[in-house]
Symmetry: C2
Subunit: 111 residues, 2 copies
């Protein structure tokens, strides 16, 4: 049942779904309507893959199933890429700058 996170992310539609969920939770039907070229069962199966990979969480509410992002597994992917981050130093420096800025504006307990 457990799915590999990397292969779950291999499909562009599933990545778009995660993008949609990054802003807010959404009902399955709402997600489906975002992909008019894919049938309802098609989206349903993409959602299943994301579920099995632990990338999303589902909440049942009345007739709706609301999907939301679970970031833990994405953190694993990020940890894998982190090993390579030293290879593109420029981007690393800009991230560093971002973190510095974040640190300066941190009002203790923020976020």
């Amino acid at each position: 049942m457990p799915r590999d996170v990397f292969s779950a992310l291999a499909d562009p539609t599933r990545r778009q779904v995660l993008d949609l969920l990054s802003r807010q939770e959404r009902a399955a039907g709402e997600l489906g309507r975002a992909f008019p070229h894919i049938s309802q069962p098609g989206i349903s199966r993409h959602l299943r893959v994301l579920r099995e990979a632990g990338l999303v969480h589902v909440r049942q509410d009345r007739r709706n199933r609301f999907y939301s992002l679970r970031s833990e597994r994405l953190a694993e992917v990020d940890a894998w890429i982190a090993k390579y981050r030293g290879f593109w130093a420029a981007e690393l420096d800009s991230l560093e700058a971002y973190l510095d800025a974040r640190k300066r504006s941190a009002t203790r307990g923020g976020r």
Copy 2:
């Protein structure tokens, strides 16, 4: 011919190959020997996928083909995940600590 980076990363063997290349360039045969359960043509095709995804570079030297990491495409993946980085604040803080340590030990020009 161009391959999707995410699907190239979907295979665990290919991720391991990149891990091996992250330390130093290696000949195809050397990479193959790191996976005794996979045949030589099997590895050769994994290398082809990595090539087509732009994740590795090949250099011919005598009888050997030396593979090395090309980080640009990994940076693209990193950029995608960056959008989600705010979601796991704890890990972000540890990365921050790492960057701080890196900054302190930076002896100008060091990798």
